[in-house]
């Protein structure tokens, strides 16, 4: 964002907007982080909604805050990143905690038996579905932390944030293709004898197709509105 350079009242307005933006972003960050843990999800919603509401109020008051569409895009990737980082991390790292065993095997019985079939059988606990652990590790330790950081940079309107959003969205496309082919290859094991087969899987996972809806947007915004630092 460019410097004020206007009348003192303009400067005051900008300062106010900046303070609101900062406060709102902090709430959005804490909220989406908590939502991403799944286990603490309900605790994150009030903070997250409060952050959005602060920005909504500021925009209604005609304060120069970040455009709402940009906030939604950034937050979507932020929540997506956190949920896939922490949500999959609980299966990788906390596969013997009571709540995680119950949740992961439960959702396995609902939509993807890869998450209940021989659960906790391999030396690295959690899912035993063929190939699944490799995707989890790659996503938890490489792709989604990068995506979360990129979303944060994007929300802070940094140039590197926009660039890394593009990069990690393309990486997300790659991960979707690879993950889907792995899932489909073993679909006879993973998508049968469960409560809600294929359609249930899609109902749950459709909402993580974020790269595909965000990429066209990222290429049609003005990079000059992002700061260089």
């Amino acid at each position: 964002m460019s410097d004020a350079g206007g009348s003192p009242s303009d400067e005051k307005l900008l300062e106010k907007a900046k303070a609101i933006q900062k406060k709102a972003d902090r709430h959005l960050m804490i909220g989406s982080g908590l939502i991403g843990t799944m286990v603490l999800g309900p605790l994150g919603v009030p903070s997250f909604v409060y952050g959005l509401w602060l920005l909504y109020k500021a925009e209604r008051a005609k304060l120069p805050v970040r455009p709402y569409l940009m906030t939604f895009v950034g937050c979507l990737v932020l929540v997506d990143g956190f949920m896939n980082t922490l949500g999959a991390a609980i299966d990788v790292l906390a596969s013997h905690s009571l709540i995680v065993r119950t949740f992961v095997m439960g959702i396995g019985l609902w939509i993807d038996s890869g998450y209940i079939w021989q659960f906790n059988t391999l030396p690295v606990g959690g899912t035993s579905a063929p190939g699944e652990k490799a995707w989890e590790i790659a996503n938890v330790f490489v792709l989604f932390p990068m995506r979360t950081a990129a979303a944060w940079g994007f929300l802070s309107m940094k140039r590197w944030g926009l660039q890394w959003m593009m990069i990690t969205c393309w990486m997300g496309v790659y991960a979707w293709v690879g993950y889907m082919w792995n899932l489909t290859t073993y679909s006879q094991m993973r998508l049968v004898d469960i409560a809600f087969p294929v359609y249930g899987w899609w109902l749950y996972n459709l909402w993580y197709l974020t790269p595909f809806i965000i990429l066209p947007y990222l290429y049609t915004i003005d990079p000059k509105t992002f700061t260089d630092d």
């Binding site: 949740f103 066209p216 000059k224």
Partner: protein, 141 residues
């Protein structure tokens, strides 16, 4: 829709040439974000309630899920699980596997007999001799 170069002009007063795309993105983002937040916040409570919480405890649900997964009513959900467990054997492995129901336990063993240094020659020669003997028997017939 006008050309792309207009988008980067940086003049605030010009109309956004990508407004339709941006509107679609906005609606999609709002829906996706709402569903993700709901999923993140409510998935675990929903699963617990589906399986009978609070009438039955989390540990009982967990044990029953193990029972289903391994078709074995004696499986238990050990809790609290020791943080630094001495035995690295995965928990369900302490019981006999129901491999006949679910197929071989992964990771599967291949049980290959790997030939040693140039041992392949002896193997092939043995196969050749066997083939020759077989064809020789056929010749005599």
């Amino acid at each position: 829709m006008s050309t792309r170069s207009d988008a980067g002009s940086g003049v605030a007063t010009t109309e956004n040439p990508h407004r339709i795309l941006h509107k679609v993105t906005f609606i999609a983002c709002a829906i996706f974000l709402a569903v993700q937040v709901i999923e993140g916040a409510l998935m675990i409570p929903l699963i617990l309630v589906y399986f009978g919480f609070p009438q039955i405890g989390i540990q009982e649900i967990c044990a029953e899920l193990y029972n289903i997964a391994y078709a074995d009513n004696d499986r238990n959900c050990r809790y609290p699980y020791p943080l630094f467990f001495q035995d690295p054997t995965p928990e369900p492995d302490h019981k006999e596997s129901k491999g006949d129901v679910f197929g071989p336990v992964i990771p599967p063993r291949t049980h290959y007999k790997v030939p040693g240094w140039r041992e392949m020659i002896a193997i092939v020669e043995r196969h050749r001799a066997a083939a020759k003997a077989a064809s020789g028997v056929l010749d005599h017939e």
